[in-house]
């Protein structure tokens, strides 16, 4: 398996391992050049091409992912914008409804107020009219009653209508003045 000294060149001939023999250098150089050419011209260019392609594919993938992310971000922004629009729209509608309701309520209130005022005015006028008529009839009745009473008291007939009428009027005006002063208090 292993070479031993018996196969070695002429016995007794000494070799210095630090001194290169010519064939050693020749074949060593040939081997070096061959290997250099293999790597320089064949292997490393192939490796470089493949690494460039790989880098390109990886960069392409990164680019694609970036694009997808940008698209997603744009979609999200669009969605948010639409959501904000919808919210604003809803708020506007609510606001509109609120003002409408207020306006309607005010209208109704005003209408009711007007009706109430009108009814009150009518009632007041009617009351006044009734009071006037009552006053007039009362005045007639109170007059004749007072004349009768006074005739009885003084024993004479107050036939003299002019005189009687004057007395009644005076009495009534005093009564009114009295009432007015009472009301004035």
């Amino acid at each position: 398996m292993l070479s031993t000294t018996s196969t070695v060149v002429a016995a007794g001939e000494s070799h210095n391992p630090l001194l290169p023999a010519t064939p050693d250098l020749v074949w060593g150089a040939v081997c070096f050049v061959a290997i250099l050419l293999i790597f320089w011209r064949l292997v490393l260019p192939r490796m470089k091409t493949m690494l460039d392609e790989r880098a390109e594919v990886i960069e392409g993938g990164i680019k694609k992912a970036e694009n997808a992310q940008a698209e997603a971000a744009a979609a999200l922004e669009e969605y948010n914008k639409q959501l904000a629009d919808a919210r604003a729209e809803a708020a506007k509608i609510r606001e509109q409804a609120r003002t409408d309701a207020t306006r309607i309520a005010n209208d109704v209130k005003a209408q009711a107020q007007a009706d109430a005022d009108r009814i009150t005015a009518n009632a007041t006028a009617q009351i006044e009219a009734e009071r006037q008529s009552a006053l007039v009839s009362l005045r007639g009745e109170v007059g004749s009653l007072a004349i009768d009473l006074a005739s009885g008291v003084i024993g004479e007939s107050l036939t003299d209508d002019r005189k009687a009428s004057a007395i009644v009027d005076r009495f009534l005006s005093e009564l009114e003045a009295d009432e007015a002063s009472k009301a004035g208090k």
């Binding site: 292993l2 031993t4 000294t5 391992p17 060593g28 061959a34 490393l44 490796m47 493949m50």
Partner: protein, 265 residues
Amino acid sequence: MHPLAAASDSTGGFQGPSIDEFFPSVLLFDGTPFEINRIMLARFFAVIVLFLVFWLGTRKMKLVPGRFQSIVEMGLDLVRVNIAEDLLGKKDGKRFLPILTTVFFMVLFMNLTGIIPGFNIAGTSLIGIPLILAAVAYVVFIYAGIRKHPGAFFKNALVPPGVPWPLYIIVTPIELVSTFVLRPVTLTLRLLMNMIVGHLLLVLFFTATSFFLFESGNLFALFGIGTIAFGFVFTLFEILVAVLQAYVFSLLTAVYAQLALNDEH
């Protein structure tokens, strides 16, 4: 240069390994500069395997790699990312990548022939390959330095500015020796000696096993079990050393280039 061989003569039957391990008999073209022996065949084998692995591994490269392509990519990325780009940066790393990749895989594959049955000798265990690669590293870092700092590279390296002038008497010789002499020498010897010693250890363990089992007396055969176990452990260790030396060699080549590029002081 036959200390072990001389020692083995006195022990009689046992023949330990000697430095002649690394000078096997010539198989082809004897006497020409193209002599081929077993170590040269191991180198050719390493080149062919390396070519097949990387040719097949990068023939139809897919963006999502399969198992084989992943392993090939992992190997190439070790040099590209961990050595070239980490030390030299993206731009300079790209410039020196072919050289660094060649250095790494040439050392690795040629180291590994040391444990492949049939070869059992590392292609790097003869000084030729370590020397050539150290020369390449030497040329690379001087080239990088001159290109980066034309005219100022040697001055910066030998007469670093900012040092009081009397110190140059000491600093300049030290810098000269450490940068321009010791770097290539240590690169060469580190790899060469690792491979030589690793091989000698393996030969020693396995020849000793053979001797104990088949040539010595009965009880000595027990030693054979121990020696073969050690041989196995050191075979695994040789794999580690093969990878480590390949890494160290290409890393130092990159470090020297980086020092030359950054030599601004």
